[in-house]
């Protein structure tokens, strides 16, 4: 962060603390670009750079009252960014150790073009039907109906974390079922 950027960020943050949405939007846009560059330099071009940025933005939002306008912006901002970067890194390691990535799942064919596509879709739906009811509902909502975790959690009265855990269990079971049927 250059001295000029820091000065600008401080001015925007002071206005954001007074409830100025435009200044806040400008500040978050500016710091998200800086955060992306900083994280990319340290972590490389990883798929979860957006997670680091979003976690950082959420923390800035919740911590904005702790920013003291008499103190420099950079130490405050980089403390948050570094902390969130480490958190996301740890989370990714944990996920890598115990969960399957969702993008390894075969996508169901919404509009099959040939017989083999139809067969795949049938297999997936048959496997889905074999899942426990709650898992089936969550996987359907997230993967087939493209609903967000937040929406599903609100609809089912579960926490977002519980929805994610149930979804991952469902994906795991689906992989196993599809593997069995294929073999």
């Amino acid at each position: 962060m250059t001295a000029q950027q820091e000065q600008e960020a401080t001015a925007l943050m002071i206005r954001a603390q007074q409830g100025d949405g435009q200044a806040y939007s400008a500040l978050l846009t500016m710091v998200s670009a800086i955060a992306r560059q900083y994280a990319r330099n340290r972590l490389g071009e990883v798929a979860w750079l957006d997670d680091v940025m979003q976690e950082t933005l959420l923390t800035i939002h919740s911590a904005r009252r702790t920013f003291d306008p008499r103190r420099p912006f950079a130490p405050w901002f980089y403390a948050i960014l570094s902390s969130r970067m480490i958190d996301v890194l740890r989370k990714q390691k944990r996920v890598g150790l115990r969960e399957y990535a969702t993008d390894t799942l075969p996508e169901p064919a919404a509009q099959p073009h040939d017989a083999s596509d139809t067969l795949d879709a049938r297999r997936i739906h048959a496997a889905l039907d074999a899942l426990p009811e709650r898992q089936r509902e969550i996987v359907r909502a997230l993967k087939l109906e493209d609903q967000s975790v937040k929406d599903v959690s609100e609809r089912l009265g579960m926490s977002p974390s519980a929805v994610k855990v149930a979804a991952h269990r469902g994906y795991k079971a689906l992989r196993r079922l599809l593997g069995e049927r294929r073999s």
């Binding site: 949405g21 976690e55 939002h61 405050w76």
Partner: protein
Amino acid sequence: MKTEDLIADLAAHVTPVRPLPSPGVRALGWLALAGVCAAAGVAVFGARPDVMARLTERDYLWTAVLALTTSVLAVVATLVLSVPGAERTPLLRRATVVLLAIWALTMTWAVIETGRGLPITTDPHWPACFARVVVLTIVPMIVLFVMARRAAPLRLGWTGAFAAVAAASIAALAVQIACPLDDAGHAFLGHFVPVAIIAALGVVVRRVLVRRDVADRAAAT
């Protein structure tokens, strides 16, 4: 959710906030409240009759000073840690840990010097002092956790531990003033061990330092 959408969402819901006072000012506020709680505890339990005379004795005074300074350093460390970037060096954190270690060593050495070991089964009074420390810790600890939570602690384990140590140390000081027993083993079990256990508890419950709305929002993105 895309980052641009998140920015738009946060900017649309931004509300005016008043910057928090500095950690030093907040620490003074908490110390005033914790002092009142400790004084109330002493008033309820009753100060030992010879407390003024005992305060002129080196060992007694040394233990009291250790408890008080540990509490003061721990509360400042808690509130500094709860402001991102406010901790310029880890000196304060280290000083608090060193002070706590000196306190532990002092208490342990006093027990070793007696040559009798810990009176776990022979002293029927230490559980009462233990319970008193726990009771006197509750309100200051909850208040300090709330104060830290209102800010934005990034190192949850350290913050939780220091908040617990700050509250338990001042409670231990109050119990020391009230307790008429001078046995080193009693002081160790009844006055110091609860501080160590409560400190560990502070680490265990560190997640309560994360505001629920923030955690839910992060999980939903």
